[in-house]
């Protein structure tokens, strides 16, 4: 996958020529030229398929003279931007529904802030997910397949190559018969079930691989299939229940899934339809795989039909939702996700700031919230003095005092007590606005990935502020 490059890599000051640090996209041959121009040229040589453009103006100028400029973009990334420009920019993009990523590198500290009103994700790709085997609610084809084996009659060679779902299912049936149809819940129940499975083992020398797998599967496969809470919240969300003619495919499909759950699904989500790898001969594995796959196709078809009906009733074109989209949605529905964010302008407004989050975090010793406070205080300082604290050697001591005053003003606005140590102020003033390449590269790499997540709607983005401390090589996430 080629990373999409931003359309406008940089909007610099009209007259901004670079005379300072070189970066990978600002080489020595072009010293004195426009930063935006040189960065664009060097960026484009990375991938001949990427188109790029630059505007040799400051964001402030653009906001004043051509405010609609930003509206034409899928996503905007802002770096090294002052509070005075950030606030109107964030309002503008928030109102237009365009996601904004603000990335910052300051000494050994970095931050990423993501502003997006509502972000829905179908493919969140969670690291750990239990297989959807439905042993507690077997559908007819699964039942028929699992019941078709008389394990005791099989020869050892074949016995050891029956997919573990079968002995697990059969042992579960036996256990439930012994317990008036109840489903194993406690660890005692599950141990009994494991013993039942063990009894079926035929090989006198060692445990058969498929039986070992069946015993291991008790941990994750013997559980009541439910709609996960996060998914329930989405299905019960106002946007899902009250569809409008403007509803997006995500919400319409979610409603179709909800209707499936309430009707055909009898309280369960459409079957995911994937079978994990397991010891088996090819023939039986493929048969079982087809059984799961067919059932999930059936379920998805119902959801698709329901989605089509919804489109019709909402007077939306039929092709707004394709069968492939619904299939994919059903396959990932147990990990679909939604994030709702906040506008940076409200974070920066004393009346609407999330002061309790700040205060609560600051009570923890060594919370990285302290760096958030520092970054905000730097903004304040810059706004007041038009320089970074510690930027000039002869001002260092004075700046420390000024910076402390910026910090206490901010803290009192949030009704927070004073910071316990002066160490952080001294460290921040030491940086004097220095940008260390490796810290920028870390933040740049991470921010690029967040941009890809937002554009592709895959994986979950940062919600919504990341602070990076390269001293301890740690990060923390806060929601504002």
């Amino acid at each position: 996958m080629a990373s999409p490059a931003p359309k406008s890599p940089e909007q610099s000051d009209k007259s901004k020529k670079y005379d300072r640090q070189l970066s990978f996209f600002l080489d020595a041959d072009n010293i004195g030229k426009s930063r935006a121009q040189v960065a664009t040229q060097l960026l484009l040589e990375l991938n001949p398929d990427v188109k790029g453009d630059f505007v040799d103006e400051s964001p402030k100028q653009i906001l004043e003279t051509n405010p609609d400029f930003f509206i034409g973009h899928t996503l905007v990334i802002a770096t090294a931007i002052s509070e005075r420009v950030l606030v109107p920019l964030s309002t503008r993009l928030w109102d237009a529904g365009i996601p904004l990523i603000v990335a910052r590198s300051y000494g050994f500290i970095g931050s990423i802030r993501i502003q997006v009103e509502e972000h829905t994700v179908v493919e969140s790709h969670p690291d750990d997910q239990h297989p959807d085997l439905r042993l507690d609610a077997p559908f007819p084809a699964l039942k028929q397949f699992a019941d078709s084996f008389d394990m005791s009659q099989l020869e050892l060679k074949d016995h050891a190559r029956i997919p573990y779902v079968v002995p697990l299912y059969q042992a579960l049936q036996t256990w439930m018969q012994q317990h008036d149809g109840a489903f194993p819940k406690s660890s005692k129940d599950k141990n009994e079930l494991r013993d039942l499975i063990k009894k079926g083992n035929k090989n006198p020398d060692s445990e058969e691989q498929n039986f070992t797998e069946a015993i291991r599967a008790v941990n994750f496969a013997i559980r009541k299939t439910v709609v996960p809470t996060d998914v329930q919240d989405i299905l019960n969300d106002n946007k899902c229940i009250n569809l409008t003619s403007k509803s997006k495919p995500f919400w319409i499909t979610a409603k179709a899934v909800k209707d499936f759950v309430d009707n055909e699904g009898k309280g369960l989500l459409p079957l995911r339809g994937s079978l994990p790898d397991m010891t088996s001969d090819t023939n039986n594995y493929v048969k079982l795989q087809q059984i799961y796959h067919k059932q999930s196709s059936k379920d998805a078809e119902i959801v698709f039909r329901r989605a089509q009906q919804l489109l019709y009733s909402l007077s939306q074109p039929r092709d707004n939702i394709s069968e492939a989209y619904v299939k994919n949605f059903c396959k990932h529905e147990s990990s679909i996700a939604i994030q709702r964010g906040s506008c940076i302008t409200s974070e920066y407004d004393q009346k609407t700031a999330n002061a309790s989050e700040i205060a609560l975090s600051l009570e923890q010793p060594d919370s990285m919230m302290v760096y958030y406070v520092m970054l905000r205080a730097i903004d304040r300082f810059f706004d007041e003095y038009n320089a970074y604290p510690g930027e000039f050697d002869d001002q260092l001591e004075v700046d420390i005092i000024k910076m402390k005053s910026c910090i206490s003003k901010l803290l009192s606005e949030w009704s927070c007590g004073p910071l316990s140590k002066d160490d952080y102020v001294h460290e921040i003033c030491r940086y004097g606005g220095a940008e260390l390449h490796s810290v920028s590269a870390f933040i740049g790499g991470c921010a690029a990935q967040e941009a890809i997540k937002i554009i592709t709607k895959q994986y979950k983005p940062i919600n919504n502020t990341l602070i990076y401390d390269a001293i301890s090589s740690n990060t923390a996430t806060f929601a504002f």
Partner: protein, 445 residues
């Protein structure tokens, strides 16, 4: 040098950012930190010599980062050539560079783009160099995708350690190693002070089995059945698009098509072992190299190199994991040094065996299982005479010694307390083990 002087004049503020952290002290500096008076005379710009191992996804980022952080004398080793599939993330390479040495092209690019920086390429394997070569560096940074190579360089740096007459480690012999690794959206950074903190071998159980294959291997030199499957998946499927859809790992029809094509390819290369199940496993476990993960991990590695070289901040202690699948998560902890570590442990290595009745093959299996060796060779010394018991790496000797695999250790002259010398690709050094029979009563006289 002329170029550097010119740049210095034309570009007076070039290092103004570094000046702040190197010419000023702060509360989080290493206790040894001394503010520099002139950053352009700093150790990192004058004498510090860095070795980067690997010029791939991480390596390209590392070279760029180190050069922009002020390091001037950088060496890079990579045995690979540039492949089309590298170009999406290994940004020092262009289409015209395909087929050329990664190390050479990367070095040339950095030297041109970042004036004053001198990168020396080595189009070699790490095993081509000896202790003299490695001893010249102040810090080694690894951007490798191979665990075996990591273990080898780890063993090399440990073998460079020297001890004084009191048995204390000589600080000047320590070459810190910063190691980065990535897999999809996950990555890790670690700082290893050989002889002091946990080494690669101490934490060997942290590595998951490797499951990704370079495209050049699957396209031109397949060896494993997995390579044949990958070939069909990434090359044949998009070309023929048999069902006019993307591959669905849960659709048996799709898997079956791949299975058939992969079998054909395997037959063509006389590779056995392609079966339906393996196809399924390979198709569903795709871990692509992600450019942004490489960027983040290489950047964090570079910060650590910079901190170690300048003491301007304390280094990471000593392991950071990174994952940006769900938001962005990092976790930092101190991996512990193992007293009985095969590479850095100071104790004699004892290999406990059931009895001397076991076959040599069983002994070798024990070595590969317990210490994750790849194909160890074993020699011993009997009555002062060296005897090769098994040597898999030289085919003529392998043939001569193969018979020994079926023999009892006792029949080969080994007994309780015997020393064996084990050589393996995972270490540059031969390891000495003392055999200890688990139960004394079973000891054969």
């Amino acid at each position: 040098m002329d170029v550097a002087v010119q740049i210095k004049d034309a570009f007076p503020k070039r290092w103004c950012h570094l000046k702040k952290v190197l010419e000023r002290t702060g509360p989080f500096c290493h206790p040894d930190f001394e503010p520099s008076t002139d950053v352009t005379n700093h150790f990192i710009m004058t004498t510090c010599k860095i070795l980067v191992i690997g010029a791939g996804g991480l390596g390209c980022e590392l070279l760029k980062n180190l050069a922009l952080m002020g390091f001037k004398d950088i060496h890079v080793i990579d045995m690979d050539t540039i492949d089309l599939s590298n170009l999406n993330r290994q940004f020092l390479f262009r289409r015209k560079d395909i087929g050329q040495s990664k190390a050479e092209v990367a070095a040339k690019f950095i030297n041109q783009r970042i004036p004053g920086c001198n990168v020396t390429p080595h189009y070699n394997k790490i095993q081509d160099f000896d202790e003299c070569f490695y001893r010249q560096f102040h810090i080694v940074v690894c951007g490798l995708d191979s665990i075996v190579a990591r273990r080898w360089i780890n063993g090399m740096l440990i073998s460079l350690l020297t001890y004084d007459d009191d048995g204390d480690l000589e600080q000047s012999s320590i070459i810190p190693m910063v190691d980065g690794g990535t897999e999809g959206f996950k990555g890790n950074v670690r700082v290893i002070l050989p002889g002091i903190s946990a080494c690669i071998e101490c934490t060997l159980d942290l590595f998951p089995p490797q499951v990704t294959y370079p495209l050049c291997t699957i396209a031109s030199t397949p060896r494993l059945p997995e390579h044949c499957i990958e070939y069909v998946k990434v090359i044949q499927w998009p070309k023929e698009n048999p069902y006019e859809a993307a591959i669905d790992g849960d659709d048996p029809v799709h898997i079956n098509w791949i299975y058939e094509k992969a079998s054909e390819r395997a037959n063509q290369f006389n590779i056995s072992g392609v079966n339906f199940r393996l196809v399924q496993g390979v198709v569903k476990n795709i871990i692509p190299a992600v450019a942004s993960t490489n960027a983040a991990i290489a950047a964090a590695c570079t910060t650590e190199v910079f901190k170690i070289a300048t003491s301007c901040s304390v280094p990471l202690s000593n392991y950071m994991v990174f994952n940006d699948v769900d938001g962005l998560y990092t976790y930092t902890y101190e991996a512990e040094k193992k007293d009985d570590c095969l590479a850095c442990g100071q104790t004699a290595k004892v290999l406990e065996i059931k009895s001397t009745e076991i076959k040599l093959q069983q002994l070798i299996d024990q070595l590969t299982e317990s210490y994750q060796m790849k194909n160890p060779g074993v020699t011993t010394s009997i009555n002062g005479k060296n005897r090769t018991l098994y040597l898999p790496t030289v085919s003529s000797i392998e043939e001569q010694t193969r018979e020994n695999l079926k023999k009892n250790l006792g029949d080969l002259g080994l007994e309780n307390g015997s020393e064996i010398n084990v050589a393996d690709v995972t270490s540059p050094n031969t390891l000495v083990f003392v055999l200890k029979v688990a139960s004394e009563s079973m000891q054969v006289e």
